[in-house]
């Protein structure tokens, strides 16, 4: 089966590393490029992280540094606690080859060349994608599907309701929703809260063979997971089950195996004006507006299926050494 062409757009926090491992490990994708955006870490730092991740995964796609600030809003500092800490700890100095193209131009050119087959996988603020849409108005017609890890239908992680990626650049999120992409799969925090790795699975990272290049990262991820259980604020918000919550990896699962996911077609909005709700995603589940659905919101999948997929991808690297 031909590999599916994708471009990844990411702010490359720790969570993204898990997603990168799944995308590479599952063998389904032909990664045409990785674009970085400011979010969990700066766009430049994200590019370094991605270059390091390429070594681990064996990917050879161009890494392109993208937007360092949101389209319009200016937020003070990062709101996220799980930035790129683990990767920074493990990777050491990394060279990112200079790119002749901006992300928005790379995306458009690749989309045209791929004749409507290109997919976008977005795990950070959507500033690059929005810029691509604003620059190349016909982009949506060349894109087969956009899968986005963003938003929340219940509790947020940046404000009471707002999720970090949307909160960081709500205008970009709106721009992408309004662009007219053929299919937008949205993987929100609520889905990621149900699709996660239980503690027993996470502990198994320590039993991976030393030949697996992901072992140090995954062991560190498990140690971080245990550390979070000592944070009362985290426990209050997320509970004390000790699960490893992986938003970006959940989105990678939706990207890879859409048939395994139950989705709801729903008209989705983002609040831009409110003082207390800026960046909140709203879902018109009760159809109070007449607008047609603009996203497929992932609502359910089997946790066992996700765990099985995740571990199969991890073990795909058991015999690979770091290049």
């Amino acid at each position: 089966m031909a590999k599916r062409p994708i471009i990844i757009d990411t702010d490359a926090g720790n969570g993204f590393a898990h997603a990168a491992m799944l995308i590479s490990g599952c063998g389904l994708f032909d990664v045409k490029g990785i674009c970085t955006v400011s979010g969990s870490v700066s766009a430049v730092q994200a590019a370094s992280c991605c270059a390091w991740l390429e070594k681990l995964t064996g990917l050879e796609a161009p890494v392109v540094t993208g937007s360092d600030k949101a389209l319009i809003v200016r937020r003070d500092g990062s709101c996220r606690s799980d930035s790129g800490g683990i990767m920074e700890k493990l990777m050491g100095p990394v060279q990112v080859p200079a790119s002749a193209e901006h992300p928005w131009d790379l995306i458009y050119r690749t989309a045209v060349e791929s004749e409507g087959e290109l997919e976008l996988f977005c795990t950070g603020p959507l500033t690059n994608i929005a810029t691509a849409v604003l620059r190349h108005r016909d982009l949506p017609q060349y894109i087969k599907r956009v899968t986005i890890a963003a938003g929340s239908s219940r509790v947020g992680d940046s404000t009471v309701y707002a999720e970090f990626n949307v909160y960081s650049d709500p205008h970009a999120f709106k721009c992408v929703l309004d662009a007219g992409f053929r299919r937008v799969d949205l993987v929100d925090l609520e889905f990621a809260r149900t699709v996660c790795l239980d503690a027993q699975t996470s502990v198994r990272f320590h039993d991976l063979p030393d030949s697996n290049p992901w072992k140090p990262f995954l062991e560190e991820a498990d140690r971080e997971r245990v550390k979070k259980l000592g944070d009362p604020a985290y426990i209050k918000r997320e509970g004390n089950s000790g699960e490893l919550r992986l938003h970006d990896a959940a989105a990678a699962f939706v990207l890879a195996i859409p048939a395994a996911v139950t989705s709801s077609d729903v008209y989705t909005m983002v609040e831009l004006r409110s003082e207390m709700n800026s960046g909140r995603t709203l879902f018109d589940f009760r159809k109070r507006f007449t607008d047609d659905p603009n996203v497929k919101l992932a609502v359910y999948t089997s946790r066992e299926m996700f765990t099985d997929f995740y571990m199969r991808c991890v073990h795909a690297f058991d015999r690979r050494a770091v290049s």
């Binding site: 918000r237 831009l272 004006r273 207390m276 709700n277 879902f283 009760r286």
Partner: protein
Amino acid sequence: MNGPIPVIIDTDIGVDDAYAVMLAFSSPVLKVLGVTTSYGNVSADDSTVNAIKILELLEKRCRVAKGEEGPLFGKRRRYSSSRGSFLHGKDGLGNKAYTLPSPLHVETHEDAVSYMAQLIRKSDTKVTLVALGPMTNIALLLLTYPELKNRIDGIAMMGGSAYGGNTLPAGEANIVADPEAAQIVLQSGVRIVMCGLECTEKAYFIKDDLEMFRLVGGSVGRFYYDMTQDYMNATEKLTGSRRAVIHDSVPVAWLINPSVIKAKPCYIEIDLSGQYTRACTVTDEFCIDRKPNAMMAFELDRDLFVRMHIEAFRRYR
């Protein structure tokens, strides 16, 4: 606490409000001092007539005072919700108000806010307000009689929702009708129990429940059965479920028997500036860096809720 809890019911009386009023008057745990009305499901005028009709059906002597006709801010026009009339019927009582005799007594000359103030002042013990409609009357009471705040034991309100509304994606009808009033009430420092949609949507009756009310409740039960038919049909059209969701009975049921709901302390404020989120009750249920200002009901024991209503109807037989 010794003796029944003194309460004032503030209502925009539609079908579910009528259940709340019936439940409140049936219970020896509560002493209803007065009923005030407002716009919402129907206009304030219709709401007042409905309240009087229901009290006469229940054979309860209690004064009714008409309240505000529209929200605090914006155009002060007469207001009634189109969604309200779809659900509650044009008359607010499931298109069955005509089957009740015309009121024998008329409303008091006092307005709702002065009437509430008078009742609170006169009461020997602190009074609990039961807010079943838009919170305009209660906000005005708190603004214009600040000295009475410490005579109010708390406010049990039906309104709001933590995670998604009914009138709007983030807005519940009573709050959407007057978000500024709700914000004034939430910021007042008075003890509040918010019975929002997360809880009240579990407070529903099915056909068998209604049959039971008709069986045990005499003429009162028969009227409520008839009144609820169109309400159920309309709910089915909206949601696909053949249920009568009786939101407004929840705060009353809680006052009678607190174990009927589960609630948790939260910090709640109203979004007043959003394009899509105006009137959203922004509910921080974790309160990591701020103190709770209300209790939010999130769970309901439906079996107990139904039993409480059956028991209430029996008392009217």
